[in-house]
């Protein structure tokens, strides 16, 4: 297995992680209602923001696991139970993320409605993000079953004299 391919992909994952983290930390600065607030008020007085930060944890866990799986692939350890378990973790993380986004979206939709605003754009974004998470979860699930089959095949081979 060409190691350079997996290292390139691992770098891309790291960049995605850094980019997402930067966006998450910087986004409150861009909100209109935060223009005149102090630093403390922007970051620590906002329960929704805390929810978003908490909800982003499974995303970063999934990113970390994907990074590890690529490491295994590079060392030719891809047909191992560890890799299968990593895919299962990614699947659960993606599902949790999807659920968290749906909950946040519902909250946003209701909150905007009571304020008389129209949250169509944000809700739409949330739905697209949820869809992407579910696709990722499904792909991870399929990959997990495939890899499990390959692992079983390999152990059968390895145990045969």
């Amino acid at each position: 297995m060409k190691k350079s391919s997996t290292i390139f992909l691992q770098t891309v994952i790291v960049l995605i992680g850094i980019g997402t983290l930067a966006a998450l930390l910087w986004e409150p600065q861009l909100e209109g209602r935060n223009v005149n607030a102090t630093f403390f008020q922007i970051y620590f007085n906002d329960p929704f923001l805390a929810y978003v930060y908490l909800g982003s944890i499974p995303f970063f866990v999934a990113l970390w696991k994907a990074h590890r799986i690529l490491g295994y692939a590079g060392q030719n350890h891809i047909f191992t139970q560890t890799a299968v378990n990593a895919l299962r973790t990614i699947k659960y993380c993606a599902l949790i993320t999807a659920g968290a986004i749906v909950a946040a979206d519902t909250f946003l939709a209701i909150a905007a409605r009571t304020n008389g605003e129209d949250a169509a754009g944000a809700v739409m974004l949330g739905l697209i993000a949820t869809f992407i998470s579910i696709v990722a979860a499904t792909a991870a699930a399929v990959g997990e079953k495939l890899l499990q089959k390959a692992v079983d095949m390999k152990s059968e081979n390895d145990l045969t004299v």
Binding site: M1, F8, L9, V12, F79, V142, K149, M153, E156
Partner: protein, 159 residues
Amino acid sequence: MKLSGMKYGSIFFLRVATFLMGAVALVLVAIFTFVVIGKSGGSPFLPILILIYLTLIPFLYALYLVIKLLTNIGADRAFSKSSIGALRRIKYCAVVISALYVVGLPFMIQVADADDAPGGVLIALFLIVGSLAVATLASVLQKVVQHGFEERSKNELTV
């Protein structure tokens, strides 16, 4: 080995999602075409439009290959020559797309400058790196499927 019901549902869902991606891409390109033509009669954007049309071809073909791959997985043919070939062709498609965007980079810079859109070049770079990442992923998966295929051959040749 018979397919479990849940796995078939997952595969079907992924096939539909892939098909949707193709449909969405076509719709976005159509919208972009109308917006561009309506805005300025198309002239400065023409090379970009042609570029996007050109990249649509390998993109849609790659999506078709993904659906074929998913069908293989669903039919228990995951680790097969067909899958390896499909992944290899997906890799080539992604490389072609990335090369097209590299070639189109000077045009995109020109348009971004004229339109005063600093994000334009960034988008182009994302597309190039993204396509290369997809190509690399396809090549990694190809080697994994290759290994799986060899394991399966060993398995099936053992009495």
